[in-house]
Amino acid sequence: MGDLTGREGLGDERGARRSVAIDGNEQGFATSRVDAMLGWARKYSLFMYPFVTACCAMEFMSLTGPRFDIARFGAEAPRFSPRQSDLLWVVGTISQRQAPVLVRIYEQMMAPKWVLAFGTCASSGGFYDNYTTLPGIDKVIAVDVYVPGCPPRPEAVLDGLLLLQDKIARGVQTPGVVRPREDPVVRAAELVRLRRAPGDPRALVPLLKANAPDPPAGDRRGGIA
């Protein structure tokens, strides 16, 4: 982020070259493809339609609040008309009674449109395994990105948004799933080891931090399945 602050690197060669370009003394051109340009433009101007039905809404509020700040990704503008929005956020449990409403909202959106299933209930019905709940919104509409979690952490949702932007930029249609950033089983095992350790457990904390595995590079935002 150093090049954005403008403080460091001003004196080096890169900064000097950039200042020339900004002054407009140097002319040039760039090549691209139309679909790549369109994808680039679309991925940073997602207008969202929040279809919020259940407790995941709490995490959704935190996501749109200043701490996690979805505005950083150009996706903060809610449009409460499906005709003006690109991205349908389905946040929470969808009952059988509500499924026709969801389908109607989806059908009113103009193409290109994307759907993000926020949380386990929207993705698969979650633990509502009964006569009244839709077992996942993909039973009735196509989903682009699934974010598991009950509810998912805002970081996971941001991962999902980045995954969606990646898909939009590359023009990929297949759905993707956000994978957890760290394996909770590994983490729990570490905590158990810490608890059972003889002596002062605080002495082990730096050791644990040093031993923490790096997240695999390609796996952080989940893969496109």
């Binding site: 395994d129 006569y131 039973k139």
Partner: protein, 205 residues
């Protein structure tokens, strides 16, 4: 705390009060379904009882087997439970009755909406979930499930795996792509248990 209510009920209705007990501080009377409304009117209007606030109304389905039906001392299959409270006297009572046979034939009960208007929606809920019909209810429609829903989901005879979707599910043909669940969701995640496949046999190496 209202043994007095049970005593008065027994005194007033005699053998039509099938059973009373006071366990864990809860006073319960089980009555014949035919006197359901009369009992409630009495409980509301007797000055010593003065039950002016209905707390809850619900239906409880008791599974029927032939042996259980032979053992059964109480009539009926669907138990309707009513909880009452007296704001003035600060006491409670629980009233129960049983209606309907194994096929839920004759599961009818007098509506109490003329006694406590607040029971309107609760009776609709019991009708919707358990299938008890209330005679004299002003507007006996489903309240939770959609009008197209068939059956009553809290009856034990309702199949656990049965859903009644209002919109058709996507198929592979209509979606133009496989619609199986992706990792980490199993293919049958979120599906009713009855539709899940049998556990796979152990892999042989």
């Amino acid at each position: 705390m209202s043994r007095i209510a049970l005593d008065k009920l027994r005194e007033r209705f005699g053998p039509l009060v099938l059973e009373t007990h006071s366990e864990f501080g809860d006073d319960t009377a089980v009555v014949e379904p035919g006197i359901w409304r009369d009992v409630c009117l009495f409980l509301r209007d007797d000055p010593d009882l003065d039950f002016n606030l209905p707390i809850d109304l619900c239906g409880v389905d008791y599974p029927i087997s032939e042996a259980a039906a032979r053992r059964r001392t109480l009539p009926g299959r669907m138990e309707v439970v009513l909880h009452l409270y007296s704001i003035g006297r600060r006491h409670r009572v629980r009233l129960k009755t049983r209606v309907g046979d194994e096929a839920m034939e004759g599961a009818e009960l007098d509506s109490l909406t003329s006694i406590w208007p607040g029971l309107d929606w609760l009776e609709r809920e019991v009708f919707d979930m358990s299938g008890v019909r209330f005679r004299g209810h002003p507007d006996l429609r489903r309240i939770l499930m959609y009008p197209e829903f068939e059956g009553h989901p809290l009856q034990r005879t309702y199949p656990a795996a049965k859903t009644q979707p209002l919109v058709p599910y996507r198929t592979e043909a209509s979606a133009g792509m496989p619609v199986d669940k992706l990792e980490p969701f199993g293919a049958h995640e979120g599906m009713p248990f009855g539709r899940q496949p049998a556990p796979r046999p152990e892999k042989e190496d």
